[in-house]
Symmetry: C2
Amino acid sequence: MARDTTRRRKRERSSAKLKQLPRRIITNLYSPIAVLSDDQIESIHEASLEVLENLGMKVLSDQALDLLAAAGADVDRATSQVRFDRGLITEWVAKAPSEFTLHARNPANNVPIGGNRIAITPISSTPNCSDLDRGRRPGTYDDFCNFLRLAQDLNIIHFLGGYPVEPQDLPVPTRHLDAYYAFATLTDMAWRTYALSVQRCIDGINMACIALGKTREELAREPAIMTMINTNSPLLLDGPMADGMIEMARAGQAVSITPFTLSGAMAPATLAGALAQQNAEALAAIAVVQIAAPGAPTVYGGFTSNVDMKTGAPAFGTPECTKAALAGGQLARFHGLPYRSSNVNTSNAVDAQAAYESEMSIWAAMMGHANVIHQGAGWLEGGLTASFEKMIIDAEMLQMVAETLMPIEVNNDTLGLDAMAEAGPGGHFFGTAHTLERYETAFYEPMVSDWRNFESWEEAGALDATQRANGIWKQMLKDYEQPAIDPAIDEELKAFVARRKEEEKAAV
Amino acid sequence: MARDTTRRRKRERSSAKLKQLPRRIITNLYSPIAVLSDDQIESIHEASLEVLENLGMKVLSDQALDLLAAAGADVDRATSQVRFDRGLITEWVAKAPSEFTLHARNPANNVPIGGNRIAITPISSTPNCSDLDRGRRPGTYDDFCNFLRLAQDLNIIHFLGGYPVEPQDLPVPTRHLDAYYAFATLTDMAWRTYALSVQRCIDGINMACIALGKTREELAREPAIMTMINTNSPLLLDGPMADGMIEMARAGQAVSITPFTLSGAMAPATLAGALAQQNAEALAAIAVVQIAAPGAPTVYGGFTSNVDMKTGAPAFGTPECTKAALAGGQLARFHGLPYRSSNVNTSNAVDAQAAYESEMSIWAAMMGHANVIHQGAGWLEGGLTASFEKMIIDAEMLQMVAETLMPIEVNNDTLGLDAMAEAGPGGHFFGTAHTLERYETAFYEPMVSDWRNFESWEEAGALDATQRANGIWKQMLKDYEQPAIDPAIDEELKAFVARRKEEEKAAV
């Protein structure tokens, strides 16, 4: 109990230095934007069932094929092709819960996933990182840890969606051990395991048990980690990913499944077609998870965007990407599943393009009731670079839309007729009692935005938003304090990592 | 007829050089985002009726006071204070039409105002302008004309909302004559008159008659110009503005009325209060218009934003501004009136802040079913500067949201099951018949966004979005061709301007 209090106080202290919204789960009480009619949702769903029934899905995992065959799917062992009866698919998918909670080392950071709640993760899985001082470069463990420190102190971030940047200076076979150790100690939020191998999942589950002081059985009842799987669109489920997600689901941990349906390349060049394929692939993979572990927490992911038809280059934050993100939410709710979307853009610089493409994604995610906004802060270059400045600007943009979701209070007090009488025609409201009462809390206060007039702004150095963000993340790193951790837990995590490294070395 | 064809061809030719969406009226078939419940709308409306009944509004025009007194309002001549019976207000406001069409010199550019249609105007009424080459400077007639040329060639712009920048090098008494001449000849869209004096409105009406080849009676039946009025919040209606709008309404021309309810300064520091005051002021001014000319086309404007409580500086594109813009649409529809919103921001540079604050405004306007997005393209610095680069970036952002409003087509063809069969598991869609058929038109093609990979982008000079926008507007000015005009009409306009300038000179 005493430990918890210290931990929370530390958190508040370190966050207090940057003026930001308080840490809270975002709830969207407005109706989601509906870009599809009920009939259209039905048509897309029917088309995806037809795809699964007639074309089927290639599944490159013997374990998954065994499970599917036993459950009644039509499995062709020679081609690894699986065809799904539409009745069975629906039955399996229905076993997934519509909501669950992801548990953090600090219970104050537990995250409900589902309903009209929105949880946000920072950037993940990029090879490069960049900042205004050092430019673009391959990621290192040092950069990796700095992104975690920022994520820990940005209240708009709810849990970790993966390696913010790949720590390329660490050896591949044991990289995940150092990464998970940093997740568990530099932050006190829930985190992600990588399902690139079963072993990485097992290590993640064991380290989560240690960090949260729980047995595997306890962790199974209270999931603490999530893995993010994608299908290899079109219609292919990779072996290690399938095995990894089965491992996670059987341990009661969360699995988020996102088809990579890039319209025009990995999916039809029409949104209806790309969405039908997205839906087919997601349902097939969710079925595998639910056959392996009925009731395991599962998230329906949408990542449909389009390519530049002239070059084949992927593009994000486009109008098509925006509509697909809104439609994806409608499809996920149709199945009664939590929905994952993203904050993406294609820009190579932290400029107006990065901001407006990201805004398209954020509005679609927030107003489409995404339950997880993955890649929420820091994404640049179509996901090839994690930017320190972009992370701060994303946090501001996310805060602004989150604040927009706070309903307007209408009552006698807020209608302020007395204030109008006090100010009088042509008068001013600065000095009214009504204004003075709410001076501190009336309006959103920005982190990055500069509202000074041109002259004052110019005199102060004429810094643009990206340059100001540069100052903010550096100050945040200076202010960062590691969240408290029971020394015995820290020791146990360290010992686990050391032992597993020895085992990996011996295996080589 | 022959003239019309030439004109349209010219328009197409000059626009064809920049890849952009075709010129069309934007229609939003999705439901507007509702930030207020029906009960809350009712409460805000009731509060504003109470304000008008008890506090009333100061009206600094004898003509307006006479009209109001004759119509049954409670007018105090000593204080110019008018109190409105709630039954009468509702009765007068109900006379305004819910939709109308603004007629352009080129009938292809006529703009329907109302319903679920969205029309966009460029920046207006800024003292300064800026671009990357010459920086920030007081506006000149040359800059003014260049902004008009861009507005004419950007398909996302539907009519002119005023002087894009104040032509400060022209003498004040006759400035409007040169400005209207430029409106009528450099563009073939509908335009705005300034109600800073009755004479400026009369000149505008006369010049619109000449430009469109219509009598005053014909123009009254088919309005061609709009004036944008604001109330001097709180609860004050300026004399020249009141007289100007009465003149316009009696000539059958459109009047847009926007209270300047800056929450915390000119309105209560609560959104409910600021909206109640906005509603009260708008209804009072609309009542004046409808008493003067029952049925005159009238637009309900919302411009509620907030100040920075620490400095008193106005802020735009904030979460409060966004919610107020959405709520304003609900209030306007409650009254059955067309709704005007804006594309605003507070940034001093064309940077990420300018983009994300503008996106907040654009999403609120588009998803709130604003019928007029005034200040749609070019706004910077809270409206103190018109930026050439921002105009291009705004056009891109507006196009992207407009394209997002185009519903997803769902049918057997777009569902693309054949394409999935052709590509096969793990295959590619580039070469499928389904993709090849729609190669040219499948996706939105950007004007400013650069989707190349980092290496190609860096090799091409690593230009950010603002630098690319700089190249685009300069190219557009090179490509610009003045829309065709009947030489007799041009002569008549010139003669009118010359005559009126002589009169003004004689009057001094």
